[in-house]
Symmetry: C2
Subunit: 317 residues, 2 copies
C-alpha cells in the first residue's frame, strides 16, 4: 500500500508546520471535500493549516465540518504548499498565478500536468477524495468522522451518487469504510446532490413544460421571465440539464438559458457515439464529448433556431 511517493509525501507532511492547501476555482464537491478532508486531518495531527479557495466556499457546502475555516486568500508564512483536485496550476485561480510551484499535487484527472514537486495522480480513482481515503492512513493521518464527512462528499458528488460510468467497486468500498466512522452518508448525499429550493423546483417546471423534441434533440428553454416568476435567484439552469439528460430515446439533450444580452447553451450527448464538444466549439464554447456549453451573444429568438440547425447538421441528426 505505502509506496515511494507515499513515503516522500509523509516525510514532507511531518516536517512541515504551516501548510497551505488550495483547490480549484468554481469548486465542486470533490474540490471542497478533498481540501477540507486533508486540512482537518493535518490539523488533528497538530499542524497549522490554511485552506483556501480563490472563489470562496459555495453556500451549499456550508454544512461540511471545517467549512467555516475556508478563506478566499492565504496569509504569508507557510512552509508547505499543496494543491488538491487541480489538473493544472491555472485551475487554482488568479490569486495563485504568481505563487511558487506547489510542493505536493494530489489529483485524479487523467489530464493532470504534474506541476508539483511531488505528484500523486491516480486517474483510476473516481475522485481526489477517493485517493485521500486510500492514502491518509499510510501518511499517519487519521480519518475521523469529520474528515470522513468531507471525503464521502467528494466521492458521492464526482460519481453523481455512484451512477457515473467510471464508478468502481473500490469507490463503493471506500464509501462503506467512511460510513463506519459514524457519518450519515445518506444525509450528506442528499445535501450535496438531491436537495433543492422551492424556487429551483418551480423554475424546473417552466423548463420541463417548454420541452420540445426535434430530430433526436430534446431541449428546454429557460427565460429571464421564468426565473422571475419562480423567484429563482441564479442566472443558470438550476441543473435542469441533468433532468433532460435522463430522457430516453433521444441523441442530444440541450438547455437554452436566456441572459440579458446572450444565451447560455448546454449540450449533453445521450448516446455514447455522439460528440457535442465540436458543436459547442463552433459557437466559441467548449467542453467534453459528452457535455459541452457555449455563451452566444444575441437574442434567444434569433439564436435558438440557428443553434438547433447547426447541431442537427454537425451531428447529422
Amino acid at each position: 500500500m505505502t509506496t515511494e511517493i507515499d513515503s516522500s509525501i509523509a516525510a514532507r507532511l511531518h516536517t512541515a508546520q504551516h501548510i497551505l492547501i488550495v483547490s480549484h476555482v468554481r469548486p465542486d464537491g470533490d474540490a471542497i471535500g478533498s481540501l477540507l478532508g486533508l486540512g482537518l486531518a493535518l490539523q488533528a495531527a497538530g499542524k497549522t493549516v490554511q485552506m483556501v479557495l480563490n472563489d470562496g466556499l459555495p453556500a451549499s457546502f456550508r454544512h461540511l465540518p471545517g467549512s467555516e475555516q475556508v478563506k478566499k486568500e492565504p496569509k504569508p508564512g507557510f512552509d508547505l504548499f499543496i494543491t488538491v483536485d487541480c489538473a493544472d496550476f491555472r485551475r487554482t485561480g488568479r490569486l495563485f498565478q504568481s505563487f511558487r510551484q506547489p510542493d505536493i499535487n494530489i489529483d485524479h484527472h487523467i489530464t493532470n500536468e504534474r506541476f508539483g514537486v511531488l505528484n500523486l495522480v491516480e486517474p483510476q480513482a473516481v475522485a481526489t477524495c477517493a485517493i485521500l481515503t486510500d492514502h491518509l492512513p499510510g501518511w499517519g493521518l487519521q480519518i475521523s468522522r469529520e474528515v470522513a464527512a468531507n471525503l464521502a462528499t467528494g466521492i458521492v458528488t464526482d460519481t453523481l451518487g455512484f451512477r457515473t460510468s467510471n464508478t468502481t467497486p473500490a469507490a463503493l468500498r471506500q464509501a462503506a469504510f467512511l460510513m463506519e466512522t459514524g457519518i450519515d452518508l445518506p444525509e450528506l448525499y442528499n445535501r450535496a446532490l438531491v436537495r433543492r429550493s422551492y424556487a429551483a423546483a418551480k423554475y424546473w417546471g417552466a423548463g420541463l413544460s417548454s420541452l420540445t423534441t426535434l430530430d433526436g434533440i430534446v431541449y428546454g428553454t429557460l427565460r429571464i421571465a421564468d426565473r422571475k416568476n419562480a423567484g429563482y435567484g441564479g442566472n443558470d439552469d438550476a441543473d435542469l440539464i441533468n433532468v433532460i439528460s435522463s430522457i430516453e430515446d433521444h441523441q442530444v439533450g440541450m438547455v437554452f438559458v436566456e441572459q440579458p444580452d446572450s444565451v447560455k447553451i448546454s449540450w449533453r450527448a445521450l448516446q455514447p457515439e455522439i460528440d457535442v464538444a465540436q458543436v459547442a466549439r463552433s459557437f466559441g464554447g467548449g467542453g467534453h464529448q459528452a457535455a459541452a456549453g457555449a455563451d452566444i451573444p444575441g437574442k434567444l429568438e434569433e439564436i435558438q433556431p440557428r443553434v438547433l440547425a447547426v447541431t442537427r447538421e454537425m451531428l447529422k441528426l
Copy 2:
C-alpha cells in the same frame, strides 16, 4: 456465515427439482431482482424453475437477464414453493390465495409475518436482493453476472441509489462484490432509477409549474388535461412526489393526481418528526410514517382544499 436456517434452506433447494418462486403484486426492483436472481441461480444449478408475478413484469425491467421467463401464473407440478420480498402471503396476489403455505419465505421487511415453513427474514438488510447476495454462496449457488445484474437492481432501487436512511456499509460492499462479476452497475442504476420518457418529463413540467407552498406544505397538482397535453400514458404521478420530496425548508410534500371520479393523493414527511400516515388513514388511505397515500372519491376542486386543511390541522402546521 452459514447458519441453521441456511443448512435447512440448502437441503430443501438441493432435493427439489421443480421450484416455483413468487414475489409481490405491483412488483418493484427488489421483487423482480430477487425473483430473477434466485431463479437464474437455481436454473444454473440444474433445477426447473417457474418465476411468477401475479401482475406480470413491468416494461421498465425487461432489460434484466431472465425477465423474458416471468409468467403471470404458474403451471402445476412443483415440489418447492418460495416467496421472495413478500411481508405477508396476501402480497403475492389474488392468484395465490388458495395455494398451500410456502416452503421458504425470504424477505427483509420488519413486518414479515413468517408465513413460510422456513423463514429467512433479515430486517437489517436493505433489500431482499441483499439477503440473497449474502446467502446464495452458502447454499451452493453461484452468483453469475446474470444473477448479479438482478441482485444489484434490487439493492439500488430499494436504497434509491444508496441514499435512503437505511443504507448500510454492507449494502455498498454487496454492490461492489456484485460489480466484480462484470455487470455494468451504472447502466443498471440508470435504467432502474434515472431514465424517464419525454412524456413523463413534460408531465413533471406541469406538476412543478403548479407547485404551491402553504404553511410548511409544498404540493403539486396533476390534472387529467396535463397527462393528455404531455402524452403521458399512466394515471399516476410519474414519481413526481420524489422530486417534491427533495424540496428544502418544508414539513410535508404532497401530490394531487386528478382521476375521472376521484383524486389520488400522496403525502411525504420532509422532516423526521412528521407522521403523515395518520392523515392518510383519516381519508381511508394508508402507508408509513414518512410516506402515505389515499384515493378520495370526488372532484379535485372540492377535495384539494379540504385535504390541505385537514393536513395542516392534524400536523399542526
